[in-house]
């Protein structure tokens, strides 16, 4: 999945030097809306927020609050959120995934990054000014202008991580304005009974065939870490929804695309409290959790809403509570006395989850084989249908979703399918909608970035194709993006290498000719969990790469108003076989588990080195060996032939071509002639 969709949420949480790459923004532009006209001009897509804002302002007055901050996330710092948590969307009309709103008695403003500017202008009415930056610093400056000294700036402490709270606190520090946490959530009070109800779907156990370890084994492992930690924490608090889902091998459908459910966990050295809507648990789930009751492996089920009260009571004892600051809200954090806290950026569960064991790796590989079948079916279907002018972007997205759905163990897409033709692919963030969708054509490039949720694994793959005659620039850029993908995938590197120090290998082939891309190079991914699973990847705030981690590798190239290219695979970090060895631990490399060939029509073989061609041929061998039998098993004979055609080994003899491009040796042309003769 395209990393620009996750980078912005995270740069907000970064501190110090850990600034990710963002597209260059802040150029002059005209708002789609014209709010200085009388009446203002608004696109038909704008939401009328006058009544909502008036009601919120009434409540703010009642609470004595001069400014109220509304974020886009939920109480678990989720990247994707449920409709019920889309407070910012309901209040502003803006439905983008990243943004912050601030309301005062006479002003209202929304901050978001460049991906969402046009969308925000189209969705918001003139009650809202658009601030074209995502930084807390800029929100802080705006608040200082809008709120007089002595005023209160308020927010819901359960919707802000510890780090984000600290950023606001710092922005207002010494300014004479107070940062005031208030419960309940003021937007919820206005939203009232129009607010969607809480999730009610079943929470179910993953069958043992699809889990890497029993939940008891996982709990034992985490408790061992607690015992061995120098500070001897007595409990671990889990707020991230993936954390609890992973720990107990449970899944739910509370949030689109992510099979998680609302919950908190407090794991102590002697007890386990799971805060969840108990009646939603399936019989098997309840049985699994309570099989060993009473005892230290008995899960006590508590009401979801009781997490804080329980934590507060627990924290009165002689205890130390361990937590990850990136996923814990200030609301929970605040009830633990400072001297009883053990803070890390990520909880030990996040770090344990990041490293997949042998069985989890096997499951992920298997999911990727079936996923490849669906994508191959899709590519073949496009090859036949596009020349007939029968496919637009939206239909394409629907079709790949349906093909995946037909695969065994599928539980829907892992994110909203990106299906972008021609210039639309140059937009960093693009999903087609019914009715406003571009027709696919043999005259344009087409980019498909999609993924599936399967009981055994989560997938995420991008292929870019051209069914006609690409321009020389398209072909060169595609080839160089592919070279970057290959160069990072085949890199051998020492243990404990941080992703950020090696991601340039995915860029170098582009850099060589003055090209680049403005987003990150990859992100972790879960076993039937999030398509963006932190803290693995190539960003500044990711943890060092270790064997057993999965990450996407997804360089790209985008030409405004013309075309966009991205080639994305999921890869597993594995031990490398090296000629020599230094240090105690072996060096690492990647094993690519996405198994779909690239577009031969877009590869300029003369640009590839012998090593790159060899790598590509070996990768194609793997695809044939793993996906071929599955295509046959599913009796997809046409797809099988397509696969064979598209994984033909590339000629290594093109050494001649490579040598010729050196252009400095008279010998080269002679060789070239010789080789052509020999190959013919």
């Amino acid at each position: 999945m395209h990393p620009l969709q996750w980078i912005a949420a995270w740069v907000l949480l970064l501190h110090g030097c850990a600034i990710g790459r963002l597209p260059q923004a802040a150029f002059a532009r005209t708002d789609v809306r014209n709010c200085s006209m009388d009446p203002p001009y608004l696109p038909p897509t704008a939401t009328n927020t006058t009544a909502r804002l008036a009601a919120l302002r009434d409540i703010m007055r009642a609470y004595g609050v001069q400014a109220y901050i509304v974020p886009s996330t939920d109480a678990h710092m989720s990247e994707y959120i449920a409709e019920r948590d889309s407070r910012l969307g309901w209040l502003t009309g803006f439905t983008g995934s990243a943004g912050t709103g601030v309301v005062t008695q006479d002003k209202a403003a929304l901050w978001t990054d460049s991906r969402y500017w046009t969308q925000a202008e189209r969705q918001m009415d003139c009650n809202w000014e658009l601030q074209r930056t995502p930084w807390v610093e800029s929100i802080g400056l705006w608040i200082l202008e809008a709120v007089p000294v002595g005023g209160s700036v308020s927010l819901d402490p359960f919707l802000f991580s510890i780090d984000t709270w600290n950023s606001y606190s710092q922005a207002l520090h010494g300014s004479g304005r107070t940062l005031l946490p208030i419960e309940p959530n003021l937007v919820d009070l206005v939203w009232g009974d129009k607010r969607p109800p809480p999730a009610s779907g079943e929470i179910y156990s993953l069958p043992p065939a699809f889990t890497g370890s029993t939940w008891q084994e996982k709990v034992d492992g985490i408790r061992k870490q607690m015992e061995q930690h120098i500070r001897r924490p007595t409990a671990l608090l889990l707020s991230g929804l993936e954390e609890t889902a992973w720990l107990f091998n449970l899944r739910g459908d509370d949030i689109p695309y992510n099979p998680v459910f609302y919950s908190y966990t407090l794991l102590t050295n002697t007890s386990i409290s799971l805060f969840v809507d108990e009646k939603r648990l399936s019989a098997e789930a309840r049985q699994s959790l309570q099989a060993k009751c009473p005892g230290s492996l008995c899960v006590e089920l508590q009401e979801y809403g009781q997490a804080r009260a329980h934590l507060r009571r627990y924290a009165q004892g002689n205890v130390i509570v361990w937590l990850g600051t990136e996923y814990t809200t200030y609301g929970l954090y605040g009830v633990i006395p400072q001297e009883k806290l053990l803070e890390d950026r990520y909880s030990p569960v996040m770090l344990a989850k990041a490293v997949k064991n042998t069985k989890e790796q096997k499951l992920m590989r298997a999911a990727h084989v079936r996923d490849a079948v669906a994508v191959i079916q899709y590519l073949l279907w496009l090859e036949k249908m596009v020349p007939q002018g029968k496919v637009d972007e939206f239909l394409g997205a629907q079709h790949i979703d349906a093909l995946r759905q037909a695969q065994e163990h599928n539980h829907g897409p892992s994110f909203q399918s990106i299906s972008a033709s021609g210039l639309n692919a140059a937009l960093a963030h693009y999903s087609p909608s019914n009715g406003s969708s571009r027709m696919l054509s043999v005259d344009e490039m087409y980019l498909s970035d999609t993924g599936g949720q399967y009981l055994d694994g989560t997938t995420d793959i991008t292929r870019t194709v051209h069914w006609g005659v690409p321009t020389p620039l398209q072909k060169e850029a595609y080839t160089r993006v592919l070279m970057g993908n290959i160069d990072l995938s085949r890199l051998v590197f020492p243990p404990n290498t941080a992703g950020r120090t090696v991601e340039s290998f995915a860029r170098r082939a582009l850099w060589d000719v003055g090209l680049n891309y403005g987003h990150g190079t990859g992100h972790g991914i879960g076993n039937f969990l999030s398509v963006h699973e932190w803290p693995v990847g190539f960003q500044s705030n990711n943890v060092p790469l270790a064997a057993g981690m999965f990450t996407s590798i997804e360089p790209g190239y985008y030409r405004d108003g013309e075309f966009g290219i991205r080639i994305e695979d999921v890869a597993l970090v594995v031990e490398a076989q090296t000629k020599h060895q230094s240090g105690e631990k072996p060096f690492l490399t990647f094993e690519v588990v996405s198994l779909v060939p690239y577009d031969r029509n877009l590869i300029d073989l003369s640009l590839l080195s012998q090593d790159q061609i060899q790598y590509l041929n070996a990768y194609y061998d793997t695809i044939r060996a793993r996906v071929g039998p599955e295509l046959q098993r599913q009796q997809l004979e046409e797809e099988y032939r397509w696969l064979q055609r598209n994984t033909e080994p590339f000629p290594l003899g093109s050494a001649a071509a490579a040598t010729a491009t050196l252009g400095t040796l008279a010998l080269a042309s002679l060789l070239s002639v010789l080789l052509t003769g020999l190959q013919a």
Copy 2:
């Protein structure tokens, strides 16, 4: 110069994610000293510190201080310090460049990193325990054990940067111990009249031929930055000795290897105060500084010791003082009210100095041509003398120093010459001393890392050679280190790229076969200033690379107890010519300005790609074109012939060899035969 010599001093100053690479330390080892014997066993090199410590403890009692911290730096955060500032060395006996001592009434301990453990054991008596870590956190823990609650921990605030002060402050925070700045320096009180006198040498103006701009132009440029800054600073405080030396085009000899002099500068929008020992200024220097008096370009000369008092008075007005936190001591910082401070990591002078203008680039290139002559003379001399068994490491170091000294505009070495034979080169930090120096031999590799100060530029170059038959591993490792040097040197990258994100290109050829090196990849360098000029380089805390910056590029490989390899060149960041262009600013690449060929005896050509060979041949063309004429001008005919021999182009036809190593195509052997025939 070897980056391990500068990395340790800097990691101490780092915060958050900016942790540099350090060698893996902390293995069990036995102290050279035996302090449990009675009497203790001490090597003859140990210093008796009993009287000094007793005197210091008397003074500590008089001041009511329970622990006193003694750092290794001076009041300007200099990397190299004068004898007069070697308080730690005098008090402990330990003369390494990085360390911290802490003294209580009954204990004394020294902290230093692994480079210096053996040296510390050899130089210190049993009054001192050796703590084998450089981290402030560990010093803090030791102090908490040694000092009871209520006690005072003291230090000289003029010897600690703001950041280091904050680290100690944090380590003691909430512990009941007070961190107490005390003047005067308690070690100085003990040292008394035995302490070396202040520097008295002349402070001189650089002749206009050797400066990039007049000092007035530099001052104008900095004042423009002050005007344009959103916070409108009224003054800039300069504490780094390089900052003042660069700004006024002045030089001195107060510190070994670095042509600087003790000074502070307070540059306001209307005045300039230079705090310096006025009587040491040459007539030309004084004339240059005061040519435009009175007025805003008149330099007011003030006593060096008056800097703080003057700053305190200035800070009482309606002012804002801009400073760089890495080079300003807590002592000076403390006199400026918080709201009147504008803090950046590096001052605008540091950042301006880092980007050399066209004339400064030309000067650096010229210095490197003469420097290459000296190094080529040295390599030729070694070639003749080593087989006769007449050269040891110390003699070698003396000889290269003398050869440089004979070159025009030379002002001595830019650091203590590293001259290391065989296993000695595997030590990260090694300089030979007279009498205990290893003989050079045709049976061992030899590493020479040296540099010169010239009026037009500072140089730093490492060459590793073997005059006999290298082992296959030596040859492979050397070739791969060279490949890393080449791959980083020829990299094309976008503007604003941070060095840390590209330094892996210097490692990849080693990584490919499971090898690596444990130090940084390069550092900035000055025009007749420091050989390690911050903030340029490839470390986490370096600023992004920009055209006009010079940095060393110095991958290596070290095999404990066997041999060490490093290949270091200085390179200029220049604009690249790329086929395409994205963004407004051109991409960047490096131009290597060190001009000495590599050891052909150690290069395995079959490992190099065609692109690498082409690059190497083009570099050798440049060496011939730039150094050849200078050798002839100096009538060094034998050296000229040596240069021609050693810069013969490598055959690109070894494409055949490269293809053959692919080993997957039957065609390859046929081609090889064909090529051999054609080349013959």
